[in-house]
Point group: C2
Chain length 469, copies 2
């Protein structure tokens, strides 16, 4: 019953956007333009008393002026007039009210708290479900629901996300898309005055379009229920969670951000420990950790082969892998001999990591990758390169050769491959970083900015597989 | 005596570059071009039997054909012929031999080990000091000595660096320059067969041009001496050290990179603990941590004010600061009231962190920064912004306004300010990141990519000040 009612959220036929605007810096513009760019197939009604047309659509002064029925309302107007708006919404048939509007309980002021209470009371009375307030709401690429313009990938995918913060939701989708994630449903729910984290987590746990759940949570509304929903979700699919407010200052910030009661740290530790939820400490780490779940098959043991150029970089790579619990087995003598046949000893180290000057020779680099990946003791491969070292010293075509070899290796070696792509931070390097990363993402090869971040993410993936599957 | 002899290293009058070449992908070209770009004032002699002229300079087939005296030799030829070369070098008056050449003890092979022994024996006999082999050698911007072309800043500065790995040395100077570091002397010393980490560290400890020492060390040659030199150096100036090879795999990699005996971890822990050397775990962290030492005055206590936009980002900022030992004191009611006078409550949090929609209004943003920084309980300020959130949503001019306010604040607030500048990773964002960072570097305001990295670096700086000064 609950399940079906939440399913309705994601399949509205007609959406009214209150506070829609032709000003491209307004959130009302962003929603309307977003839905259009994501090809929302139903009706879109901009509501704004000061406009006749917005983005080519007829605008209505009030909700009650809309000619047809509406089942979904997104509102960007201030807190106070939101209450009055609700009668009109219900009268037009709306079932869901998604509130970008802020100024409710999160202000910490009596007035805001009372307004939020009134909002909930009225919603229950009118049979409206509320998402938010103080959130950017739902994002469902396959269904044409967008919480922002289509600057990031419009393609739907396997990652379901529950992100209490609107800014984090936007960052996750933007940055995550560029790094190779695509999303089933992303839900930003702010103050969670009605529909809360337990409702949405339960929904994503059952959602057949969602293969993996990522979450950013600041606080919980129903402790007991959340425990049991997390348990259920983590049994159904991998759950990667970033808990905001693990310190005193963080808890205070969470309270004034979404009015959240962040809960004490030991309770969260217990929760993570007992349910097998994968804990991460930042949005970057959340994205890092999701990548192997999406791109890699099961990895049975943590034996890594490391290939790249640079002695110091290789030492740092080995340290980062072992410090994260991965194993870097030394290459056996016969494999070293085979590498020696085409690799000069000067400037190279043929252990594991393999530090090879043959990175500058596409054919030999490819052969190095194949030989290392072909060793049965290696479960997966990390390859690292610094863009400027190749492009500025050896020339652009040499960098292209390295990229092509790695892309080809991704197909040929039949073991998981992740690429660590670093830049000195020059203008040229950052530009190339962007376009090279894009090519790897298209080839479904995860890219990380440092070996440490790759090692941490993949170690979490392997640990999860060992414990939970 | 030792001091004076090392001082000579940095002030050669005539340099011969063996293996100099017109091929821009060769290291021999890189050295020659580098010295020219860095305006080396002495004589430069390219040595190459196959060329008449290189980069406009007359080339000589052999060292003995050089008309004048030489006191410094850089060689890029293979290991074996290096030995023969030494007699010629000594005959021309050379005092120092800097060897990019690899293929010595670091190969782990009997042949390489014997060659290195012979190299050392012969150097002692001929009165030559050797830097390397298997290194990129000395970099001394003020003196025109360069280990690579002038892609990075030519300006000399206060940071002395001891970097066993050539790749790390290059990365440190390249990336560090872009982030605001400038260098007195950078020394990459590879296998350290003659001059070693103790010699160079002792030199930097005494060097009046070096205000702070950063080091990447894989292994040590003289344990007892190193302990006492580190002690001396750390008493003279801040020493920030990244030890490569802290795991078993890392130690193996270090051995096959520079032939280094990495030493057991507890010994290093004791060393860091007893001497007050600041330990870091990556090159990025080394650069991060150096920045406050260069840019900040003494910070007496770890009380931070945080200003930016984004609720989730503010929670993450507060957590990152407290987790790193900083204190994020809640703003007092009177200060909140003053902020409320011009900040709408909806969409803002006026605690600490201050999450403010007024970031979009330069005048109000400036006022926010000044009010928070003006509170006597705050010792320093962190300001954070996401480039795309401003530029794509609010428009380019709004982003410019934020940058201008922060640059102005750097002058006005009279407390240390660090800026955390993030990008979703879009092409536009990365491009802007580069140019905006440049402006902050020129204004002597350190920039970090994440709050966590800023908090870690500044916490290390404050801890050092509390303990060591």
């Amino acid at each position: 019953m609950e399940r079906r009612s939440l399913d309705n959220l994601f399949f509205p036929r007609a959406i009214a956007i209150i506070g829609a605007s032709a000003d491209p810096t307004s959130k009302g513009y962003d929603y309307l333009k977003g839905m259009m760019e994501f090809d929302f197939a139903g009706q879109l009604y901009p509501v704004n008393p000061k406009a006749d047309k917005i983005l080519g659509l007829e605008a209505y002064p009030r909700v009650r002026d809309i000619p047809g029925m509406i089942d979904y309302v997104i509102s960007c107007i201030p807190a106070q007039p939101t209450i009055e708006l609700m009668d009109d919404c219900a009268a037009k048939g709306a079932k869901t009210l998604q509130l970008y509007s802020a100024g409710f309980s999160e202000t910490g002021e009596e007035e805001g708290r009372k307004l939020e209470e009134e909002l909930v009371r009225k919603a229950r009375h009118l049979g409206l479900r509320v998402i938010g307030p103080n959130c950017i709401g739902l994002h469902y690429p396959r269904g044409g629901l967008a919480f922002a313009r289509a600057r990031f990938s419009k393609r739907g995918g396997p990652v379901g996300s529950l992100v209490q913060s609107g800014g984090h939701a936007w960052t996750l989708v933007s940055n995550g898309s560029l790094r190779g994630l695509s999303f089933s449903k992303v839900i930003s729910f702010g103050n969670a005055c009605d529909l809360n984290e337990s409702d949405f987590l339960e929904y994503l746990a059952d959602d057949p379009e969602t293969e993996l759940i990522t979450a950013y949570i600041e606080g919980i509304k129903e402790g007991q229920r959340f425990m049991s929903v997390v348990n259920k979700a983590a049994r159904a699919k991998p759950v990667i969670m970033f808990k905001g407010g693990r310190t005193e200052a963080g808890r205070r910030a969470a309270a004034s951000h979404t009015g959240a009661l962040a809960g004490r740290e030991p309770i969260w530790e217990t929760l993570f420990h007992q349910t097998g939820v994968i804990r991460v400490g930042s949005l970057d780490e959340l994205i890092d950790t999701t990548l192997p779940f999406i791109y890699f098959p099961k990895i049975k043991s943590p034996n890594v082969g490391i290939v790249g150029a640079g002695g110091g970089a290789s030492v740092q790579a080995a340290d980062a892998c072992e410090a994260n619990g991965l194993i870097v087995p030394p290459l056996p003598p016969e494999l070293r001999e085979r590498l020696k046949q085409f690799t000069p000893l000067a400037g190279s180290s043929l252990g594991n990591p393999v530090d090879t000057v043959q990175i500058w020779n596409p054919e030999h680099f490819m052969r190095t990758l194949e030989l290392v990946a072909g060793w049965e003791k290696i479960d997966f491969l990390l390859a690292h390169a610094v863009i400027e070292l190749a492009a500025q010293w050896q020339g652009q075509s040499i960098l292209e050769g390295i990229i092509d070899s790695l892309l080809e290796a991704g197909n040929k070696i039949r073991k998981p491959l992740a690429v660590i792509l670093q830049s000195f931070g020059t203008s040229q390097g950052l530009n190339m970083l962007y376009s090279i990363q894009k090519r790897f993402v298209e080839a479904k090869i995860p890219v990380y900015p440092t070996i440490g971040r790759a090692a941490n993410a993949i170690a979490k993936f392997i640990e999860y597989q060992a414990v939970c599957s």
